[in-house]
């Protein structure tokens, strides 16, 4: 069988395999697209839900603090101020020993603090705290003994500068060992002059531990203030996202949106944007707390929707296995088919070669028989002519027969091959392939 025919068979096998594989590949691609889209949508919904919760909690933290401090300003300078502070400087001590610290202090116009440490420390039953627990808390939370920031005059200045200002929410401020933000309400006299402020401050560590972390497990989350100071960034991707957010001016735009949203009674800005980060494109979803803070969750677009990957991988595995089995079956079939065909072609080749041999021998016989009959019939009587016939055509015919016999013997020993010798009508003729490059045609 010719090599080209064999290639044709293998090409056909490949073609059939590709055609059969095509639906699987298309299905895989469509499924991948749908699964990724569905997983991505689900993932984004989860992120948005978490962000909405965080936005609401940040809002609560801020407004609870403002409400507390505002209430307290009503009692400043009154006889019950000491009692008030004693009650509002509250340690919410939980049975498991964890505590959420809220510190409230009064800031004088010159920025000095009325030390809150004079107030008693009570538990959530309003009873004085156990001395041992109090000692431990003081060790863990030095705010009890020392204000976090070295200077609170900025608060007084903020209220003095703007006579209409009732509340103040600071940006993130770097205190020794921690990052804090301060929420304060002002007390003014009848002329609007600033008299004092009640201040409550939060550390980012506590805010993270008590408010954000429970809702941020596994998220690439960051939080920054209105000046672009990053308070929290849970991963390198989150840090890169926060940098890009600040560098591209998105922060200012979102704060404006947050301010406008607040004016409409919403918590703040809501949105998302695509970011080009070092690790590739990422999708950032963000929320603002008014125009005070922005919290963002970022996901690489490459991994976004990766939850569908397991299903996809399983399907891909089954599809590849099916294809391999299919290809294997096709290859076995093709091999068997080629072997069958090769046998069949070998038979046909031998049959055609037998025809060639027959043709040669019949021609030689014609020469021999014709010459001998010529002599026998006395049609040639000249001795020289007879000798010429015997040593010429007859001798050549005999040698031709002899060579044909030797060819057959060589063929039977497998020493020679058959090769194409032209067409005889619709039939292909074969002959012995010349040995050593010499044509041994009879």
């Amino acid at each position: 069988m010719s090599e080209s025919r064999s290639w044709q068979r293998w090409f056909f096998f490949l073609l059939v395999t590709v055609i059969l594989a095509a639906p699987l590949v298309v299905t895989y691609v469509l499924l991948a697209r749908d699964l990724r889209a569905a997983a991505r949508a689900r993932h984004l919904r989860q992120i948005n839900n978490q962000l909405n919760q965080l936005q609401e909690q940040l809002n609560d933290v801020k407004w609870d603090a403002l409400a507390d401090t505002y209430d307290d300003t009503l009692h400043l300078g009154q006889g019950d101020e000491a009692e008030l502070l004693r009650q509002t400087l509250m340690w919410y001590v939980y049975p498991d020993g964890h505590s959420f610290v809220e510190g409230i202090a009064v800031v004088n116009p010159d920025g000095s603090l009325r030390p809150s440490r004079q107030a008693a420390v009570i538990d959530d039953e309003g009873q004085p705290l156990d001395p041992q627990r109090l000692a431990r808390l003081k060790r863990d939370h030095p705010w009890l003994e020392h204000p976090w920031l070295p200077d609170y005059r900025f608060l007084a200045r903020a209220f003095q500068k703007d006579r209409e200002r009732e509340f103040y929410v600071s940006p993130l401020l770097r205190a020794p060992g921690r990052l804090v933000f301060v929420v304060a309400s002002a007390r003014r006299d009848q002329d609007g002059s600033f008299q004092a402020a009640v201040m409550l401050q939060h550390s980012m560590a506590d805010l993270w531990k008590n408010i954000i972390a429970p809702a941020a497990a596994g998220l690439n989350l960051w939080l920054m203030d209105r000046r672009g100071t990053v308070g929290i960034a849970t991963s390198p991707l989150a840090r890169a996202s926060a940098r890009e957010f600040r560098a591209t001016g998105a922060l200012e735009r979102v704060l404006q949106k947050g301010k406008a949203a607040r004016a409409h009674g919403d918590y703040g800005a809501v949105g998302s944007r695509t970011q080009k980060l070092g690790a590739g494109e990422a999708l950032l979803s963000y929320r603002s707390e008014g125009d005070s803070f922005v919290v963002g969750v970022v996901e690489s677009k490459r991994t976004l929707g990766a939850q569908g990957q397991a299903t996809l991988t399983a399907f891909g595995g089954v599809a590849v296995l099916s294809l391999v089995l299919l290809a294997l079956a096709g290859a076995v079939y093709t091999l068997a088919s080629l072997r069958r065909e090769r046998t069949s072609v070998e038979k046909a080749t031998l049959r055609r070669y037998a025809g060639t041999v027959s043709h040669q021998v019949r021609n030689h016989l014609l020469t021999l028989r014709g010459s001998l009959e010529l002599i026998a019939q006395g049609r040639v009587q000249d001795r020289e002519r007879i000798e010429q016939m015997l040593s010429g055509p007859c001798q050549e015919a005999l040698e031709g027969i002899q060579q044909t016999v030797e060819e057959l013997e060589a063929l039977s020993r497998g020493e020679v091959d058959l090769e194409y010798d032209g067409q005889m009508g619709g039939s292909t003729m074969y002959r012995i392939r010349p040995r050593d490059g010499k044509d041994d045609e009879a």
């Binding site: 043709h359 014609l366 020469t367 028989r369 049609r379 050549e396 005889m424 009508g425 619709g426 039939s427």
Partner: protein, 125 residues
């Protein structure tokens, strides 16, 4: 004297056939392939009284040569000679054409010459 054209690619066959036909008094012309046979018709005004055509020629088949002789020269007095009578395709074509043929090796004395005499309307010895 009748002229007979013999077309065969085997020199020994060609020579033997020419000897036989000449010994019976025919004028003989020979061609070793299809092209030489056509050249004979193109270059001579004389038309043979019969043409003995081998089926297997190096540049075609005796059937093709017969068709061209018919088409180009209106010549149809052909007699086929073949070593492929055993082959179904050749046999079918010979039968379909309904023209005389001989299987190699030829029996000159018993078959070929008597047939030619009848075919050419001549009386032999």
């Amino acid at each position: 004297m009748s002229l007979i054209l013999v077309v065969d690619d085997e020199p020994g066959v060609l020579r033997t056939m020419a000897d036989w036909l000449a010994s019976d008094g025919y004028q003989v012309a020979t061609a070793a392939n299809l092209a030489q046979a056509l050249d004979f018709f193109k270059t001579t005004q004389q038309r043979p009284d019969a043409a003995l055509l081998d089926i297997k020629l190096p540049d075609g088949t005796g059937f093709e040569l017969a068709d061209r002789l018919q088409a180009e020269f209106g010549f149809d007095r052909v007699i086929y000679i073949t070593a492929f009578f055993w082959e179904e395709e050749t046999r079918s074509e010979l039968v379909r054409r309904a023209q005389p043929y001989f299987e190699k090796p030829l029996k000159f004395h018993r078959e070929v010459l008597p047939f030619l005499r009848r075919y050419l309307g001549q009386q032999g010895d």
